[in-house]
């Protein structure tokens, strides 16, 4: 039983910077947990604390039953795969893989046997006598994996092990690592900034931002029920469209669609049926106030095709098509609307993750250009650049967020003590 438990683990550097704050995390035995977040979010620091390469300022770290806060790395029964592989350049592949066993003073025959086994699993047998400098990137990556699995540790730690591979090899190695982990059943913590790796590999995914845990859950739940704006904006590609809207709850029953609400998005509006409101009672508290409306590209359909069955009246958005990306199986359409994009700190930090220009673009849109929405149309759609696109909105799948706290508006009124977990509407994405 080797679960890894982090209990209010904090890392503060001598210069006062807090890299990880009060991190509570529990990785179950045999689980593959992915830590994901933008650069500088503290995910690598958290991993390095588990490895023992970074000291823990406060909190408690347990591997299995043992508190390992002050144990050196070698006594923690862990193995780590580094981003740059960190292979010993002067040793052969065989010596690299067997180094830890040699230091543990295992008998020579056993070292040989275990290195051969690891090499067989990773298809490295014919390279055993080469040095790392003579290997390709993918082979080096496998040697690094070999060095980890040969020790049969109770926990694997992986720090962006695929980021130095090219795209095609990365996809292949991703599947190999996930398969290997399932086969060995070893508890694994995997750090990445690539959300595709996070979604495809992890049993559960923990999203971090600025040293704090945002949400930890299964990939599907993360996608369909993001706990806050940051997770919503970070997870998904293309990412969720986030617009600023105002809620108007219909005054009491009566006519057909009674008990619903209307969301006005600038000059356009969306009518919400009563069922939407019933699933998200918290929304009532925002009557007359601003919210952030999130809609994933796949819940926007080409109205001329009638993709979504019988959309309720008024559940449409329109705008000018500025760009279309035909992917064969589907069509990504960038539509300029006259809505206002939501601009909060969370959205900003995701937009600026790779490029400061992203934030600038967002602010220009908010200042009057109008929000650019990405819709995922059926491949049959005839939308062309310059057309006006009519989009059906699947209002049942809309997400609402509190613009002040960034939290998702779901169950009870936020001010009341939460009596139940967020509405279990878990629709498969």
């Amino acid at each position: 039983m080797t679960a890894v438990t982090m209990d209010k683990v904090t890392k503060t550097y001598p210069n006062g910077v807090t890299a990880v704050a009060d991190l509570d995390l529990e990785v179950a035995d045999g689980e593959f947990l992915v830590l994901v977040g933008p650069s500088g979010c503290g995910k690598s620091t958290a991993l390095r604390m588990v490895a023992g390469l970074e000291s823990i300022t406060s909190g408690e770290l347990r591997i299995g039953e043992r508190v390992v806060n002050d144990l050196p790395p070698k006594e923690r029964d862990i193995a780590m795969v580094f981003q740059n592989y960190a292979l010993y350049p002067h040793m052969t592949v065989e010596q690299n893989i067997g180094f830890a066993l040699k230091l543990a003073r295992l008998p020579k025959d056993e070292i040989r046997q275990r290195v051969r086994n690891a090499a067989r699993v990773l298809q490295l047998e014919e390279w055993l006598h080469r040095k790392p400098g003579q290997l390709s990137g993918g082979q080096r990556q496998r040697v690094a994996m070999g060095r980890a699995i040969v020790r049969d540790p109770s926990v694997f730690l992986m720090d962006e092990p695929l980021s130095n591979l090219d795209a095609k090899l990365r996809a292949q190695t991703r599947a190999e690592i996930a398969g290997l982990q399932r086969q060995l059943g070893t508890t694994t913590i995997y750090v990445t900034h690539d959300q595709i790796e996070a979604m495809t590999m992890g049993d559960r995914v923990a999203v971090m931002r600025e040293g704090r845990l945002q949400q930890i859950d299964e990939p599907e739940v993360l996608y369909s029920e993001p706990a806050n704006l940051f997770v919503a904006a970070f997870i998904g590609s293309p990412s969720m469209n986030l617009l600023e809207g105002t809620v108007a709850v219909d005054p009491g029953g009566g006519n057909g669609a009674g008990g619903g609400a209307t969301i006005s998005l600038g000059e356009q509006s969306l009518a919400l049926p009563a069922s939407v409101l019933a699933e998200r009672p918290g929304l009532r508290a925002f009557d007359g106030r601003k919210v952030v409306v999130g809609v994933r590209p796949e819940y926007l359909g080409d109205a001329t095709l009638g993709e979504h069955e019988a959309p309720p009246d008024g559940a449409r958005l329109r705008g000018d098509v500025e760009l279309r990306e035909a992917l064969g199986s589907e069509l990504l359409v960038h539509v300029r609307t006259n809505c206002r994009p939501a601009v909060t700190d969370e959205v900003r930090s995701v937009a600026g993750e790779y490029d400061a220009a992203g934030v600038e673009l967002l602010e220009r849109q908010a200042a009057g250009e109008g929000a650019m929405i990405i819709a995922r149309f059926d491949a049959r759609s005839r939308a062309r650049v310059g057309d006006v696109a009519e989009m059906d909105v699947d209002v049942e799948r809309l997400q609402f967020f509190d613009p002040d706290t960034g939290d998702r508006i779901a169950g009870e009124v936020p001010t009341a003590p939460a009596t139940a977990q967020p509405a279990p509407e878990s629709e498969p994405a």
Binding site: L53, K74, N84, A86, P89, A100, L103
Partner: protein, 387 residues
Amino acid sequence: MTTVTTAPPERQPEALESGVSPAREGRGSRLHRLLGSIPTGVLWALVVLWTIPTMGMFVSSFRPEIEVKTTGWWTVLPDPFPDNQTLALLVALAFIAVVVAVVGLLARLYHHLGRAGRIALPIVAVLAFVGLLVASTDATFTLENYRQTFDASTSDSPDMWQHFINSAAITVPATVIPIAFAAFAAYAFAWMDFKGRDWLFVSVVAMLAVPIQLSLVPLLQLYVGGAHVTAFGETITLFPDLDLAGTTTAVWLTHIGFGLPLAIFLLHNYISSLPADLFEAARIDGADHPTIFWRLVVPLSVPALAAFAIFQFLWVWNDYLVAATFLGTGSADAPMTVRLATLSGGRGQDWHLLTAAAFVSIALPLAVFFGLQRYFVRGLLAGSVKG
């Protein structure tokens, strides 16, 4: 030439019509290549220029005493025109050109050879050259100078072999010990966290600036009587009187002291540039500091260690000042540099002995340089190119 032949034949008439003749293009690229080869040419010229005195000394060391004292070493070369100086000079220049060309050809051949060939080729070339020279000249050559140089029959004789041993006895500890200490220190400064590390490192590096002349007298006092501080009637001994004055130990101790700061500085730069990942991976693999040092740092630092070893070896081997100060010029323990100086001072007339003795004294550095030159170049480039 080559550009002309590589141009597609059917395009040549067009080029002629448009006024750009292929020959012109060829001349341009030839000029470019010519200009590009100038730096290499200058280097070769420097190599020849700097090798001539050594060669002169080498030749002189084999000439009989009388001839050394009466004629120049170049007179061993056959003179085809004893009556016409200008013609003789022209022939000499032509000869040098031929030698340079042959050396250039051999250098090209060298790249295609295996390990054994690379060792054999220079030896064979030198032997062939010497053989050619000896065969074509009517000058006499003798080993008498070397016999006299190694003569130890009287207390006044050169006895160069003994002084060769003395030099080695000083140089070996003065090279090996600082490397060992400095590698440990450099690793600690680079990869171990301890209080006052930066402060200590800066003070070690600051010692690079201490001029050796400044410390000669204090060091001599230290070796003669130790170091003591007297305050309030109490005498505290900081350094005991080890009676080191006039011993070989005093010389290599001094060299170690002056070699260490540079050694620590150089090795620290190299070792701290090794990737941190490597050390972290080793720690996770279960290595502690001694293991990391012996299994990772030492094997990975061989180029830097070798480069410093060459520097320190040459510096100590060629040193005169320290040895003369701490041993005295007449000492039987004196290294070859000191003995050479007394040889020329006491027997200024014995040039023939001086040439042979001097050649003996450069024999070992030459061997060390050629043996380790691979590391020498790599060590100098260390850090500038990411491997």
